[in-house]
Assembly symmetry: C2
Homo-oligomer: 526 residues x 2
Amino acid sequence: MTDQAKMQTSTAIIVRNEAFLAEADRLKPELREKAVRPRQLVQIAADSTAVHGYRSKPVADAAELEERSFGRGESFILDFGDHRVGYLSFAIRTVGSPPDAPLKVKLTFGEMPVEVAVPFDTYDGWISSAWLQEETLFVDVMPHRVELPRRYSFRYVKVEVLATSQKYSVSFHDFACRTVTSADSGQVAPLRHADPVLEQLDRISIRTLEDCMQDVFEDGPKRDRRLWLGDLRLQALANYETFNQNDLVKRCLYLFAGVPDEKGRVSANLFIQPTVIADDTYLFDYSLFFTASLYDYFVATNDRQTLRELWPTAYRQVELALERVDETGILRDDESWWSFIDWNDQLNKQAPSQGVLLYTLKRAVQLAEAVGEPGIAAQLAETIATLTAATMRELWDSEQRFFVSGAQRQVSWAGQAWLALAEILPEADNRDLLLRLQAANPDVGMTTPYMVHHFVEALLIAGCKEEAIARMKAYWGQMAQDGADTFWELYDPQNKSFSPYGSPLINSYCHAWSCTPTYLIRRYGL
Amino acid sequence: MTDQAKMQTSTAIIVRNEAFLAEADRLKPELREKAVRPRQLVQIAADSTAVHGYRSKPVADAAELEERSFGRGESFILDFGDHRVGYLSFAIRTVGSPPDAPLKVKLTFGEMPVEVAVPFDTYDGWISSAWLQEETLFVDVMPHRVELPRRYSFRYVKVEVLATSQKYSVSFHDFACRTVTSADSGQVAPLRHADPVLEQLDRISIRTLEDCMQDVFEDGPKRDRRLWLGDLRLQALANYETFNQNDLVKRCLYLFAGVPDEKGRVSANLFIQPTVIADDTYLFDYSLFFTASLYDYFVATNDRQTLRELWPTAYRQVELALERVDETGILRDDESWWSFIDWNDQLNKQAPSQGVLLYTLKRAVQLAEAVGEPGIAAQLAETIATLTAATMRELWDSEQRFFVSGAQRQVSWAGQAWLALAEILPEADNRDLLLRLQAANPDVGMTTPYMVHHFVEALLIAGCKEEAIARMKAYWGQMAQDGADTFWELYDPQNKSFSPYGSPLINSYCHAWSCTPTYLIRRYGL
């Protein structure tokens, strides 16, 4: 996710736990590198049937590039055949007289065709244009091998020769992307599935997760390249079913626990460079996901040592969340960006956040028991009972037979999904709720794969396997048909150019929170 | 100079003399470095009385920069107080929340205010826009110290923040230019002159030469950064009167002698990186200047070993030049760029080139004698007599009392100046010729400091000291009044925005061939 809208900043005092940070440092993964060559020279053509209006068309094998030379104003586009995260290098030689002026060359990187078709200077969105991946280089001495120091996330590279001189042109060769990931694809058990669509979704999910697994679990290798708790939780779930690199999850948990604020609250996200810095964004749901993520980690690993060390941080998130519960047993709502849930301006956060709280409390009880705190476990169980009753009393609309949220009593998809995930209704009632939700299709819908994941998982725990598969195919399956090499941050099948940022140029097209089909398929045996 | 117009290219076969190149390599100078800080924050204001229409105005001490912070769309301009050649570095820190997006920042370097006032994308001249000094950087992790790897030639640096995010701005500090030169200013004897203008011209000349003295004598540190024979000859003359770093001259002579073509002809200029490469530009006058430069070097150093080794190359240039003399004893004229003389499309090159040939032959005779080749010396003396008679017979117009050039019998400043430098008329007649030239002021004038140098030196050898000083003051003195920190490649006091390239943005404002006032003042005791 990204926090650049509606951010709730504070002047939190960070209390560094150096022992936790040292443990995180010890768990720093090695990055695996691979040299990947471009496959084809392509043209990008306007095509109204394509997502964002552009489609790539092969024009020649990439090996033919070497035979061509380029003067001022000439350009070409390389296709690396799949989504890549890494460092680009290439060689330049000159054709004609000795180069009597520097070369000026512009590179534009695109995960999607639109990024190498629409000039970046048309972008006028509200998040930083510095995320748009481009470089303008001057090369003084040739022949020369260019080794770009920044990491890019791309499939396409456009190369534009902005200036040579009248006496020489240039030829490019030996393009390579040194890809990086901390994921070891050798660890993934192959999925042979009777349903080729599910097999495809599994494969794309794993590619997505792989490209987001770097020094930490990043949310997106193009943009924001950061460790977010909401993304981490889903990446960890997908990881347990695939790469099983649990030390990377452990590292990320220690990082979050290493820089809480003075109340003990964990940040919604961390910066890792130049040092570990807690962002000044705190979100109700994301803080609770520390606790949920520790639960998932413990279930996957049975690592009691980590549980013991991180339990106080996990329990502290629950305590802080409960401070927001009012005398009726319901979370106080407000207008600020206090809880994330989904990228949806219309969404009231109260009911879904109540769901997140109950979902987490149920896992916290189990952690308290595992860590040998029966008193806390009993107290949490009591709280669950109280809040469950309050939720049914205050948020359940028995006429509409939906949960409502906020003063306007909003009926949202997110509210139903999260209160289904909280499992406060019997399984059959949950099933009815979710099927009724699909039928009623209230206006306040889901805008991100992140939210769709939670709805699909709610269907699965309610036993609606067919509906879950249908939803996955309609959503991630359609995304795959629309050309996703890795799953996108944002996708609305009804409005395929949706961007909350003002332009699809800045969307991320390999995004951690979209990688969950592999988890859903493998965990629930779809 | 620059060769990018009207270039005469050929497919010459280069015959490398590895012993000469090894000797040149042995003479490679150490670069001296100095850390220079910016002096002031300035604004550039439009001002129709300023050269190119812009003037710099101080607004604050550079130390105040640190107190300021800059968001998207904000910028500042630093003044480093004088012309600098070197490597820029600076530090960036962020203000506000942790930086949640990269910083995009653009740097523009200017030797002159116009370069940081007029956007480079307005440039539409015919030589490469890649010479315009700018960089667009993305900084992913901050705080950060930026160390730019390219060398720039500048006094002003404009810094524009193109993108941050809504959550942070940036502050800049610790700007430094690590200047580089192979010149040792400790070697220069101070000039205390009664005339403050001549003292000023001497000082600016030395600064110009210093900034052009790098790994070789460069023509201009901004553009082309290359070793040209015409520039080398004048730099060497200025050097003998100032830095006296004669090994650098020697190195450059060995470099030219190291890569002749298969006929033994030396190129008009060399590229030094990635290896020594002779450019495919050959010019009648520039090849002869190898011989003239060796003569000057021998006079300055009495280095007989070098003379012996390089004499065959020097003599070969004379032999090749004489092949162009027709049966009347005059150089064959043609329309191509066969001889440089001056940046002037109207100029016919025949008469001035005849002057260059005779000028060089007279020095070649002395070299032949010094090297112990009396037979060659006698033969050259005979050639001089023949060509002198031919010149008077064919090119002297006794009615106009000027030398004429080409089929159109053009009377040019360059023709009179070079045939005066050739000293084929008695000194008194030379004096009359030059004074008559000043009075008649023919249309085909002088466009570069390079040509004005030759006219002033002609005045001096003809004994017109007052006129020489007056011309220097009217030309270089006016350039200094117009704000030259170092002397400019191009300057026409009547048309101050003259550029042969289509825009003054691309002119070089520290140019070797303009550094000769120090030589003229010191050598002729002005």
